[in-house]
Each structure stands twice: as C-alpha cells, then as structure tokens.
C-alpha cells in the first residue's frame, strides 16, 4: 500500500521533472472559447505541446478566462493596477479589447514581432480579418476566430412560395404578400426581424461606400464624429429601412434564432458562426438556406464586415516572446484554422485552410459554411468594422433611435438628425475624457 503510493509519487515526480526539462520555456494562453470551441482549444494546445512545442522546448498552459468581456475586464484591472507580470503571454481578445491592449506597456504587437522575424510570411492570412486587428496602422494581433454576418433563410418555405432568396431590403419587403401569414401550426409567421446596431449599420453604410464614423470607422484615428450624414448614406439606409417596415415584412425587434429555427421567422441575419447551432436546432424540419448579407438597395455593393476575436501577445522576455510568436502563428495557421472552422462554424482566418481536406469535406456536406468566406471575398476592401470608445452606448443608441423612427413614425431625416445628435454627443464626450 505504502510502496504503491511511493511509486506513484516517484513516477509523478519524474514525469514532472522530465516535463520541465523538456519545456525550457513555459508560456500561458488566456482564451474565451467555451462550448465545443473550448474543447477544441484544449485539443489544439495538447497537440501543440506534443509536437511543435516538444521540438522547440515550449510548454503552453491554456486557461479559460470567461467571456470576452470578463477577460477584457481582467486585462483592464491588471493594467489599472500596473501589475503587468500577471498578464499572460498570449491572450484572445475581441473588438472591445483592442484599445486597452494597444495601450498596454508590455504589449508585444504583431508589428514588433515581424521586426524580430523578418522572414515571417503572413500573406496567407485572410486580409479582411487581418485588417480587423489593425488599429491606427499597428497590427495588434492575428485573427483566430473569424466570422461575418450572413442572411439565413427558410429555404423550404421560400421554395414552396416559388421565390428566390432576396438580395436587397426591398426584395425582403416584397415577400410580404407572397408568404402565408401563419405557420402550419397556426403561429404568426414573421418574415424578418432585426434591430440595426453598430456592426449591422456599418455593414449597410459600407455597402453604400460610406463609413459610420470618421477615422475610417475609428481604425486609423479615434473617431470624433459621424461620417455618413453629409454623403446621405445614413438617410438612404433609413429610407429603405422605413419602407421595409411599411411593407409589414419587418418586425421591429431583435431577430430570434429560436423563432427562426421553430419556423416562425423566415429570414434571420446572424453571425456566420451560428451555422452549426442552427443546423442542430432545425434538426431537418426545413432546409436551411444561407446567403450573403442583404444589400441596402440595388446600387449598393454586396458584403459585410468581419467580427470575431484575435490573439495578441504580451511580455518583454525574449525567449517567451519567441515562444508566444511560435504558438500564435501555429494557432492561426491553415491546419488549426481548418479544424476550428469545421468544428464550430467560424471562418478559417487563413486562406491555406481552404485546401485542407477537413474543410473540403465540410463544405461538400454543408455548403452553408462556405457562404461567409465567399462573402468576405466580395466585400469591398475599404469596409472596416467600427472601433469607438463608447462601444455599448453606441450600439444601443443606434438600436433605440432607429427603433423610435419606426414606432413613433419619424421621417428618415428626423431620425438621422437624432442619430447624429446622440452619436456625436457620445463621441465628443469620449474625446473629452480621452483627448
């Protein structure tokens, strides 16, 4: 009994010793991948430690740090406390983490890493996804989980009515008379439900060749004012939106994935990463159609912005920086990105992933997965996701003001004025505190 315990202890000790001998550099990764993606992340790190890590003497500890907002809050608290040694070597952040990360004293940006590694070739990275993590000309991180917004539709229902998937807002409006008013179970059938917010409004304005805010949507310099007012893009969108509402096809509420999956909503604009969840929920009751994001009008170009998360690095130690860079390029490489895409519905952030068998097999079985990727290829290169300081307020101000236009029957011009006042107010207040 006792010897058995001793033996186990000895074994554990040797295992520990050999592990630490092999792993000369130990680094930490903080991530926010939950559900299936979390299991995949653990699997990736395991593989890395067993292969590349073993060769180069790197050991990675992956730690889940809650949702993106929790992890960002943790990063902010650490930065405010000035305890930079607590920060990990590699961290996964979403858009809200960009500005605080850029301000961190120990941020080891991709641009800095590229100076240390002139041989590195990032040309295979999906360019709209790369741009998404570029702030004021500095490449902060590399895209890890990438997605865009798609239009999902109930293909069975549209086929039965003999109509093709709509491409513009007015075509969605035209469905109003063509579809039944209730579902087979007698429930009300909603055609489309959506509350425009920062990313979706940026999509529609981008299609019209306009940014939402200046500073190229806040990516080149801190946004100070709206830049979609004088060029008329905002009013153009609001007019189309109000016209759509007046056809009765639009419900003034956030679209519901559940209602869509239950067959009670025909069209849903949602993240491309929701493909798997949707297929699960629908469970074969109807055919899931996936199409590019609807266009504001016929003249608009197609496309939508990128969202998701990236990996960034911290630290000053040369060996750890080296190890972090090795891990980061591996995690954003074709192999891992193809697996991640196949397992979750995120888009591969590395164009090399498209050649991998696992991705090929996936899109052969479920062509819905590929729509997001082809959409990004068509999206104008000038389109940027929005980075603004007062992120949450901005998001809800857009929702509320556009919603008020419909409920209180304001003219698109009045609504545009209201938006301009509210959003510019938020931006100038932010500038007051962050000159």
């Amino acid at each position: 009994m006792k010897t058995g315990k001793m033996l186990i202890l000895a074994l554990l000790l040797t295992a520990l010793l050999t592990a630490s001998a092999a792993a000369e550099t130990s680094i930490t990764l903080w991530h926010s991948m939950s559900e299936g993606a979390g299991a995949l992340m653990d699997e990736f790190i395991q593989t890395f430690n067993d292969t590349v890590g073993k060769e180069r003497g790197i050991h990675v500890d992956a730690v889940f740090q809650g949702k993106y907002s929790d992890a960002t809050m943790k990063m902010n608290s650490i930065l405010a406390a000035g305890q930079v040694d607590t920060l990990p070597d590699v961290m996964q952040i979403d858009a809200t983490g960009k500005v605080p990360y850029a301000s961190a004293e120990t941020a080891y940006t991709v641009d800095m890493a590229l100076q240390d590694h002139p041989e590195a070739d990032l040309s295979a990275m999906l360019s709209p996804a790369m741009q998404n993590w570029n702030l004021a000309g500095t490449q902060l991180g590399l895209p890890f989980a990438t997605s865009t917004t798609l239009m999902y539709y109930n293909k069975t229902l549209l086929d039965a009515a003999g109509v093709a998937a709509p491409e513009t807002l007015s075509q969605i409006g035209a469905l109003a008379g063509l579809l039944p008013e209730t579902t087979a179970e007698g429930q009300k059938l909603t055609i489309y439900a959506c509350l425009p917010n920062t990313p979706t409004l940026a999509n529609w304005l981008g299609q019209l060749g306009s940014d939402l805010v200046d500073g190229h949507n806040g990516t080149e310099s801190t946004a100070a004012a709206l830049s979609c007012v004088e060029n008329g893009a905002l009013v153009t969108f609001l007019r189309e939106w109000k016209a759509l509402y007046q056809t009765g096809a639009l419900d003034n509420s956030a679209g519901s994935l559940d209602a869509f999956a239950a067959g009670q909503q025909v069209i849903l604009t949602e993240s491309s990463s929701k493909v798997s969840a949707l297929l699960d929920k629908i469970g074969g009751r109807f055919e899931l159609g996936a199409a590019p994001y609807p266009k504001v009008n016929k003249e608009a170009s197609a496309g939508a912005t990128v969202s998701g998360s990236c990996l960034v690095m911290f630290g000053t130690d040369a060996a750890k920086r080296e190890a972090a860079w090795t891990l980061m390029t591996w995690l954003t490489g074709p192999e891992v990105q193809a697996k991640l895409a196949a397992g979750t519905g995120y888009l591969p952030g590395n164009t090399g992933a498209a050649e991998k068998e696992i991705w090929q097999n996936l899109i052969a079985a479920y062509p819905q997965y590929e729509v997001g990727l082809s959409q990004l290829k068509e999206t104008p290169a000038s389109m940027r996701s929005v980075t603004v300081g007062p992120a949450a307020d901005f998001y809800y101000a857009i929702q509320n003001d556009v919603s008020d236009m419909l409920e209180e029957d304001l003219s698109p011009e009045e609504a545009a004025e209201m938006l301009e006042e509210d959003l510019n107010g938020l931006l100038s207040e932010y500038l007051r505190a962050n000159p």
């Binding site: 939950s34 559900e35 949702k67 608290s77 406390a81 559940d258 929920k281």
Partner: protein, 277 residues
C-alpha cells in the same frame, strides 16, 4: 363540529399552499426538465415541459466531460463555507455591539455599515482587484472571499433579532458573572440558531453562485469555481439551452441537497432550541 370544520379549513389552506409552492417551483422544474432535451425539442412547436426521454443524459455527459467538476465543487464548497462563516461571525459581533453596547455614534456607525449594501458591486471591482492582488491573495480561497467578509445585510437581520431578545436575559447573565463573549456564544447564539442557519445558508448560496469575482482573482484552472466552470460550457447569451440548463442543474443540485440537509438541522434546532422565556 367546529373542530372538524377548522381541520377541513386547515387542510384546504395546506393544499392551497402546496399548490402555490409548486407554482413557485415550476421554473426550476422546467429548467431541470430542459436539461434532458435535445436542441430540436427546444425549437419545436408546441413547447413542452417534459423532455421526450429522461434517459437522454448526453447534456450531462458534456458538462462533466468538459470541466473537472469535482475539483470545482470542492473549490466552491471551501470558498463558500469559509466566507459565510467569517461573514456570519463578524456580523454577529457587530450586531451584538449595536444592540448591547451604548457607545457614542453607534447609530451613525450602524448606518455607515448598512451603507455598504448600497454600493453597486461593479464600482468596487477594479479597486478591490488591486488591493487583493497587492496583498498577494490571487489564486487563494481567502482572496475569493475576503471582499465579502463584511456582510451588512446579515448584521442588520441579526440586530433586528437581538433587539427582540429580552434585555433582562443579558442582565441576568451578567449578574451570574457571565462575560459578553460567553453570553453571546452560550446563550444568545443558540436562541438565534434558526436565524443563523438561514443567514448562513443564504450567504453560502450567494457565494456558491458567485461568478465574476472568483474568475477575476484566479488564474490557475485548479482554483476555479463551479460557476466559472459553467461558463466554459456555454455563455449566458449562447443558444444551446439544453447544455446550459444541464450545467445549471449540475451546479444547483448539490446546493439544494445542502439546503435540505441544513433545513432538517434548522427545524430540529427550532423545535428543541431553548425558547426565550
């Protein structure tokens, strides 16, 4: 005759109460049932309460496969027990001071402590993180609990309770040469044991269900608590309700068992406890 009618009325009252209890508990029941459903069932019309089969335990398998729940349970248990115990002891002492000592400014002090209930916790987080990490308490149970050691709400309830206990009791004890601490521990606390249990339980459950703070002050996976483990399964704004509910059930059930066990203790204490007379 009237006795019979009275008994009948009481039975009716009991049944009505039971009915209302079931109604109150319905959301919990619904949630637990949901943990056995498949994604398809959640999107099906008409909605159901019961799952197709209680044998569908796949969601639970996923919960346990994804996170080392055993370790998380232990962490949550230790953290919640320790924090609640300290919280209660401090609250008892403070409440005793407010009721039995008459010192200048004691009313002001009472309201100052009560004021801590009204500070939005989010405003305190960042500064507290700095304090706790400077104290070197990151990745410790104490670090997870220390910000909750001062429980104004418990102190307040205990004060209310002590105020109702006869002043003569203490005077008599003092005359017998009993010190304040001994009076508190051996006479006053036992009479308050049902309340102490209820407060302990409430505090325990609050700590058991805490999420953001334990997440912030732990970096090592082996120090994580059950609620943090739950978020690894799924986010609150996620869409796979069935796994979320399975996770919630897995976290909830031990807490409920703990409650049921304590309740028996409480009711026994209530029946046998020395009554004030």
């Amino acid at each position: 005759m009237t006795k019979k009618r009275r008994a009948a009325a009481l039975t009716a009252l009991d049944l009505l109460a039971l009915l209302m209890a079931l109604l109150v508990l319905f959301p919990v029941f619904y949630g637990v049932c949901g943990a056995f459903k498949t994604p398809e069932e959640f999107a099906a019309w008409p909605p159901t309460v019961l799952p197709n089969s209680f044998r569908n335990t796949e969601n639970f398998t996923r919960v346990f496969a994804q996170a080392p729940m055993g370790r998380y349970y232990w962490n949550s248990f230790v953290m919640a027990t320790m924090t609640s115990a300290v919280r209660l002891v401090l609250a008892v002492l403070a409440a005793y001071a407010f009721v039995f000592f008459d010192f200048p400014g004691h009313r002001t002090c009472f309201f100052l402590l009560l004021g801590t209930m009204m500070m939005p916790p989010d405003t305190l987080t960042i500064a507290n993180y700095q304090t706790v990490s400077r104290m070197g308490l990151i990745d410790t149970y104490v670090g997870m609990g220390i910000v909750s050691f001062a429980g104004a709400s418990q102190m307040f309830m205990l004060r209310q309770h002590f105020l109702t206990s006869p002043k003569a009791l203490r005077e008599a004890a003092m005359l017998d040469g009993c010190g304040d601490l001994r009076f508190l521990v051996s006479i006053l606390a036992p009479t308050a044991s049902p309340l102490l249990m209820t407060l302990f339980l409430q505090s325990f459950l609050t700590q058991w269900n805490a999420y953001l703070w334990p997440l912030l002050v732990t970096n090592r996976p082996e120090m994580r608590t059950v609620q943090v483990g739950l978020t690894m399964l799924t986010t609150v704004d996620g869409t796979n309700y069935e796994v979320m509910l399975a996770g919630a059930a897995v976290v909830m059930l031990p807490a409920m068992l703990f409650y049921a066990a304590l309740r028996r203790f409480v009711s026994r204490a209530m029946e046998n406890g020395p009554l004030l007379s």
